[in-house]
C-alpha cells in the first residue's frame, strides 16, 4: 500500500514539476507571476486532444505539436498582455492583473470552442499495460509520463546552464540593462523564455490529460494554486527548487488522500503554502531577495 502510493507520487510529482518549471522560469527572468500559465497548460491539453481526435495523429506526435502550440500561445500572451506594460514600466500589480485577464480570455475561448463539459482522449490511444513489482503496480503510461518529464527537465537544465542561449537568459534575468550593454537582444530572449514556459505547460497538460483522461477548459484552475505552492516551496525563480517542490507537493497530496481523506487533496496545497511562508518565506532553495552588488 505505502509503496504503491510512493510510485503514484513520483510520476505525479514529475508532471507537477514540469508545470511549475515554466511558471518559475517566467518569474526568474521577468520577475512577474504569470497567472495565465495554467491556461497554457489547459490549451496544451486541448491541442493534444485535437491532434489525436481530429487530425488522427499518433500520441507521440501530438505531444510535440501541443508543446509547439502552447509555446506559440505563450509568445502571444507576452506580446499582448505583458510587453505593452513592460514598455511603460508598469508596476508588478498591473502585470498580475493583466495575466488574470489573459487567463479569463483563454479559458473563455476554450469554452466557446470545446464546450464546458469534460473531453477525453480515445480509450485506445495509449496501450494499457500494467507491470507488477512485488505487489506494486505501475502502468506503461505512468512510466512513460515519468520518462518524458525527466527527459524534458534534463534538457531544460542543459539549455539554461550549458548553452550560450541559457547564459543570455540568465543575464537578462539578473539585469536587463547589463545584458543589453553586452549586445544581448533582451526582447528576443524574453520571447524565447515565454515560448519555453508555454511549451512546458503544454507538455504537462497533455501528460496529465492522458493520466486522468479528463480535459476541460477549467482544468487549469486547481493547477494555479498547485503551481504557486510548488514554486514558493522551491523558491521563486529557482529551477531546482521547482522540481523538488513538485515532488514534495505530489507526495503530500497522494499520502493525505491515501491515509487521511480524499477531500483533503486541494487543502494540502494551502497548508503547504502557509507553512512554507511562515517558516521559510524564501523557499527551500531560495536566497534572500536582495541582490548583491
Amino acid at each position: 500500500m505505502f509503496w504503491q502510493q510512493v510510485v503514484n507520487a513520483i510520476w505525479l510529482g514529475a508532471v507537477y514539476s514540469l508545470f511549475a518549471l515554466g511558471y518559475t522560469l517566467i518569474f526568474g527572468v521577468l520577475g512577474i507571476l504569470n497567472l495565465a500559465h495554467p491556461s497554457l497548460y489547459m490549451w496544451g491539453a486541448f491541442i493534444g486532444l485535437v491532434c489525436v481526435t481530429t487530425l488522427h495523429l499518433p500520441i507521440w506526435l501530438a505531444l510535440p505539436v501541443a508543446m509547439l502550440g502552447s509555446g506559440i500561445l505563450g509568445i502571444l500572451l507576452d506580446r499582448i498582455a505583458f510587453k505593452p506594460l513592460r514598455a511603460r514600466h508598469a508596476p508588478h500589480l498591473a502585470t498580475l492583473i493583466s495575466s488574470i485577464g489573459a487567463s479569463i480570455v483563454l479559458v473563455n475561448i476554450a469554452q466557446g470552442i470545446f464546450g464546458a463539459e469534460v473531453s477525453r482522449f480515445p480509450f485506445d490511444i495509449f496501450p494499457v499495460h500494467v507491470f507488477n513489482f512485488g505487489g506494486v503496480s505501475v502502468t506503461l503510461l505512468q512510466l512513460t509520463i515519468l520518462g518524458i518529464s525527466l527527459v524534458i527537465m534534463v534538457a531544460l537544465r542543459w539549455l539554461i546552464m550549458g548553452t550560450r542561449q541559457g547564459q543570455a537568459m540568465r543575464a537578462v534575468a539578473y539585469n536587463t540593462v547589463t545584458a543589453a550593454r553586452l549586445g544581448i537582444p533582451v526582447d528576443q530572449i524574453i520571447m524565447q523564455t515565454f515560448f519555453i514556459a508555454g511549451a512546458l505547460a503544454g507538455a504537462a497538460g497533455v501528460l496529465l490529460g492522458l493520466a486522468f483522461n479528463s480535459i476541460s477548459p477549467f482544468m487549469g484552475g486547481p493547477m494555479n494554486l498547485k503551481g504557486l505552492t510548488v514554486i514558493v516551496l522551491g523558491g521563486l525563480g529557482n529551477i531546482e527548487g521547482a522540481v523538488i517542490g513538485g515532488f514534495i507537493l505530489a507526495f503530500s497530496e497522494v499520502m493525505s488522500v491515501a491515509y487521511l481523506s480524499s477531500d483533503l487533496r486541494d487543502a494540502v496545497s494551502f497548508v503547504l503554502l502557509l507553512i512554507i511562508l511562515l517558516v521559510r518565506p524564501n523557499g527551500l532553495l531560495g536566497h534572500s531577495s536582495t541582490k548583491r552588488a
Binding site: R164, V177, T178, A180, A293
Partner: protein
C-alpha cells in the same frame, strides 16, 4: 570613430547635458572629467543607447546611432565598462567573460581571447567557476574590463573605473588602461579622478553642469592653472 554633435539630454524638466559636442579619433584615449553631476555618466549612457537624447547626433564610424537600442549599438562595436561595474553576480566569472563575446561568432578566436584574458588576469582564472558576485570590488572591476575586451570592441567606454576602489587597485586599473591603449583600442574614459585620467589620456574635455567648459590635449590641461585649481588640487 565617435562624433557627438550638439547633444542635449533631459531628465524630465532637468537638462542634464546641454549642447555638447566632442570627438574621439581612432586610436585615441579621450577623457571626460568633471565634478559629480556634471553629466559625464549621462553622456556615456546616452552614447550606449540606455537614454534617448532630446536632440543632437551621435555617430559611430560615421553612422548615426542615436536612435538605436543598446544591444544594437553593442553589435556595432561599442563595449561599455559601466559605472558600478554591473557584474552578472549569479553567473560564474567564465560565463561573464563568455557573454562579453556574445556578439561574436568566431568560436576559436573567442577561446583564444578567453585564454589570453586568463593569462593577463590570473585571478580570473583561479575564480573562473565561482559566482562573479563573490569577488572583491577590484577583482570585479578587472573582470568587467576583461568582459568588455572580449567583445573586441572598436570603441571602449569606461565609466568611473576607479570609483570605490583602494588606491593600490586604482593604480592597477590605470596600468590596465595604459595596456589596452597600447593595443590600439580607442578609449573614452569618464573619471572623477582627474589627475589619473589626464595622465593616460591624449585629449580631454571638461564638463561643468552639463556643458563643455574646456577642451584641450590632456598634457595642456595638466598644467593649466585653472584646471589644477578646480580639479587637481594640490
Amino acid at each position: 570613430m565617435l562624433k557627438v554633435s550638439n547633444l542635449c539630454v533631459n531628465y524630465g524638466a532637468i537638462e542634464a547635458v546641454r549642447d555638447l559636442s566632442f570627438e574621439v579619433k581612432a586610436g585615441q584615449v579621450v577623457a571626460i572629467i568633471g565634478a559629480n553631476g556634471a553629466g559625464k555618466s549621462t553622456t556615456l549612457n546616452t552614447i550606449g543607447g540606455l537614454i534617448s537624447p532630446a536632440s543632437g547626433k551621435i555617430e559611430l564610424e560615421g553612422r548615426d546611432i542615436s536612435g538605436l537600442r543598446s544591444d544594437q549599438i553593442a553589435r556595432l562595436g561599442l563595449a561599455q565598462v559601466p559605472e558600478g561595474r554591473e557584474v552578472l553576480a549569479t553567473l560564474t566569472v567564465e560565463e561573464n567573460l563568455r557573454l562579453g563575446a556574445y556578439i561574436r561568432n568566431d568560436h576559436q578566436a573567442i577561446e583564444a581571447d578567453l585564454q589570453s584574458m586568463f593569462e593577463r588576469f590570473p585571478i580570473l582564472k583561479t575564480r573562473r567557476k565561482q559566482h562573479a558576485g563573490l569577488m572583491s570590488g577590484g577583482e570585479q572591476q578587472m573582470m568587467v574590463v576583461a568582459r568588455a575586451l572580449m567583445a573586441r570592441p572598436k570603441l571602449l567606454t569606461l565609466d568611473e573605473p576607479s570609483m570605490g576602489l583602494a588606491p593600490l587597485i586604482v593604480n592597477q586599473i590605470f596600468e590596465i588602461i595604459t595596456e589596452i591603449r597600447a593595443q590600439g583600442v580607442t578609449l573614452l574614459l569618464v573619471e572623477q579622478n582627474a589627475r589619473k585620467a589626464l595622465q593616460v589620456a591624449d585629449y580631454a574635455y571638461v564638463l561643468e553642469r552639463g556643458q563643455l567648459a574646456y577642451a584641450a590635449p590632456a598634457a595642456e590641461l595638466r598644467d593649466d592653472p585653472k584646471i589644477v585649481a578646480a580639479y587637481l588640487g594640490e
